[in-house]
């Protein structure tokens, strides 16, 4: 197992200054998106939302290290990496607004719909990686998970398959210390998540998830290895969510405020900003410009979500089967008679 967490900030020279600035802008955009989403939930404009504030470095670093052709199998918290990979922000808002359109990534954006049941997406990622291996494609598949997910049987089965069939798959675990209220120490008796990889003949890497460059390097390394037939990697990005598990959760019930504060000190956005300042390529002006740009982008997506036409009732039926059985056609007729074709009940 490689443990990169204790090393100094990763070697910033592996990426260009322009790319660094690009990463920084994305991290700000993701944070702004996240904060607006929480507010939208509070004001009743969207439903329960899973915030990621604190995990931007892990997600943006991962997103930057992947190629457009690579496939993502996300959970409910991967808004950041999904955006970087090309998922429109408005789609993400629509999802949290309970709209079926929110599950659809545009053609060419290789992201599978969000998996809500924990760890169930990991075997899918394995199968998808298997398919690309069989077809001789140069594609990497990434299955996303949290630390809690490593307790589920599906995690074990996915890792085992990946190891046995030596598949081009990455398991990208954001270890944010908690599965809702349950801390890592109650989730597993191992000290790290990365060390679990060894049991499956998979390589494990532990990396500082708040260091965007360290994450970038680790994912890049693992993806290159996978592309050249070197098999799977489990990457543990050690990070923290600053807020609650979801907007329906209250993290002050199970976390001490000084713990949260200590992690805020390690904020990945702040760290990258310092690097940019040290390099002499950043200023207060650029900073406020970056936030303004983020605000415009996010606002456009919110407007798009809010002005979406009322949900089409037919969507309840249209995709349940490729060919709708007669009995469901009858039910759809009944629905239309009772409630019409759209515009809410």
């Amino acid at each position: 197992m490689m443990n990169r967490i204790d090393q100094e900030q990763a070697d910033a020279n592996t990426v260009s200054t322009d790319q660094l600035i690009d990463m920084y802008r994305w991290m700000i955009t993701v944070r702004h998106f996240d904060r607006r989403a929480v507010h939208l939930q509070r004001s009743g404009r969207i439903g329960t939302y899973a915030p990621l504030e604190g995990q931007e470095a892990a997600q943006v670093g991962c997103g930057f290290a992947l190629e457009k052709r690579d496939w993502l199998f996300p959970t409910y918290r991967e808004h950041g990496v999904s955006m970087v990979h090309g998922l429109p922000m408005a789609t993400i808002f629509l999802y949290w607004n309970g709209r079926p359109e929110g599950c659809i990534s545009p053609r060419g954006v290789n992201i599978f719909p969000i998996a809500v049941p924990i760890a169930t997406q990991l075997p899918h990622a394995v199968g998808a990686a298997w398919a690309s291996k069989l077809r001789g494609e140069d594609t990497v598949t990434v299955g996303f998970l949290g630390d809690g997910a490593t307790s589920e049987g599906d995690f074990h089965e996915a890792m085992n398959f990946a190891g046995v069939f030596k598949l081009p798959v990455l398991f990208f675990c954001q270890n944010n210390g908690y599965a809702i209220s349950v801390p890592l120490a109650k989730q597993t008796a191992t000290e790290t998540i990365a060390e679990k990889a060894a049991a499956y003949g998979v390589e494990g890497i532990r990396v500082d998830g708040n260091d965007v460059l360290a994450v970038y390097e680790a994912v890049k390394w693992a993806a290159d290895k996978a592309r050249s037939g070197g098999g799977p990697t489990l990457i543990e990005a050690v990070t923290y969510r600053f807020g609650s598990h979801t907007t329906a959760d209250d993290h002050t019930r199970y976390r001490a405020s000084d713990e949260v504060e200590a992690w805020r000190e390690k904020d990945g956005i702040e760290r990258l900003r310092r690097t940019l300042v040290e390099r002499g390529v950043w200023s207060d002006e650029l900073e406020s410009d970056a936030w303004e740009r983020a605000d415009r982008t996010v606002q456009r997506a919110i407007d798009e979500m809010l002005s979406a036409p009322p949900v089409d009732h037919n969507r309840l039926f249209d995709y349940a089967y490729a060919k709708l059985p007669q009995q469901l056609q009858d039910q759809r007729e009944e629905m239309r008679t009772l409630y019409g074709d759209g515009g809410g009940k």
């Binding site: 599950c103 589920e152 599906d154 599965a179 109650k186 309840l316 039926f317 469901l328 009772l338």
Partner: protein, 325 residues
């Protein structure tokens, strides 16, 4: 007596059981420090300690499988699944083991446990949080399935379930967790498993419902009254075993029947109840027994969930179909 909502009644039931019986322990994801995602176990860890109110790893098969071992060694586990939509990883344990221990060991071992699972839609929760999978478990011999619709029944049925020697799946209607309060006796009392309850008397049609759908059905019964139809509403409360006597007696009285559930209609519990009525009260029927269920599509994201589950309008439509046969 205190006025409690449904979830407070459940907490109270758990507290009473834990005080009376040292073998009772609560286990699940987030049930300890956090008091459960719906706060059903609020305060219990403070009172009974972390050995009896246990935060487990995130592993439903592990939670239920470990409960089997606890139960066969004489403990009384009360595993909580956060949402019924997350019961599926544990289905293997429930179907292959929980339900068969007594049979397989020819009575040497039994597997008493109460598996608590909030179920049903209507709270704008994310995908998969609103499933109604009760029929799967009713179909599995060896289990009892209970689904209360009121605070009083919730506590009484929970305590009865904890006394039962057979495993019980206890579905809690989360849509009405906090919808209303009623008087709930302090201390220990039970509502017997296996008995339905007539919650509204009527003469024209018997409506059978449970859990989440009960209050919607009562609304529909009011609509029907405006048409001059007196609907008798029966809360089944226990889905396995079904209270055959109460069901048949009601149908014999009214001559017409409708079953309402939120789960998809096809092969839902409604089909079983129709068959039961055919077998036991066919000659009393003046019309075919109707069913109003969720549409036969996967539980949708919440923008469509109100369309998916029966509402008073749809139930009224079902009532009219039976009445106008």
């Amino acid at each position: 007596m205190a006025r409690l909502n449904l979830i407070q009644a459940i907490t109270d039931g758990l507290r009473v059981a834990m005080r009376e019986d040292e073998r009772v322990l609560v286990l699940g994801e987030d049930v300890g420090v956090n008091g459960g995602v719906f706060r059903a176990t609020e305060g219990l860890q403070a009172e009974f300690g972390s050995e009896r109110v246990v935060d487990t790893p995130l592993a439903e098969a592990g939670i239920i499988g470990a409960s089997v071992g606890l139960a066969v060694q004489g403990m009384r586990p009360v595993p909580e699944l956060q949402f019924a939509g997350f019961i599926y990883p544990a289905v293997e344990q429930i179907v292959c083991h929980v339900s068969r221990v007594r049979m397989r060991s020819q009575g040497r071992f039994s597997c008493p446990m109460v598996i608590r699972a909030p179920y049903g839609g209507g709270i704008r929760a994310p995908e998969l949080h609103g499933d109604s999978p009760e029929a799967f478990f009713v179909h599995q011999p060896g289990l009892q399935v209970v689904c209360p619709s009121s605070p009083y029944d919730a506590k009484g049925l929970l305590l009865a379930a904890l006394e039962a020697d057979d495993p019980v799946i206890f579905f809690e209607p989360m849509r009405i967790y906090r919808a209303f309060k009623e008087e709930v006796p302090d201390g220990h009392y039970t509502v017997p498993i296996g008995q339905a309850k007539v919650v509204r008397a009527g003469t024209h049609l018997s409506l059978f419902a449970w859990g989440t759908m009960l209050r919607v059905s009562l609304e529909a019964a009011e609509l029907a009254k405006q048409q001059g139809w007196e609907v008798e509403v029966v809360d089944l409360r226990t889905l396995s075993p079904l209270d055959r006597d109460t069901i048949l007696a009601s149908v014999e009285k009214t001559g017409r029947a409708l079953v309402v559930h939120e789960a998809p209609k096809t092969a839902g519990l409604g089909a079983e109840i129709v068959a039961l009525i055919n077998e036991g009260a066919l000659l009393s029927l003046e019309a075919p027994v109707g069913r109003v269920g969720g549409y036969d599509v996967p539980q949708p994201l919440f923008a469509l969930e109100d369309l998916h589950a029966p509402d008073a309008l749809r139930i009224m439509h079902g009532i009219a179909n039976v009445m106008n046969f």
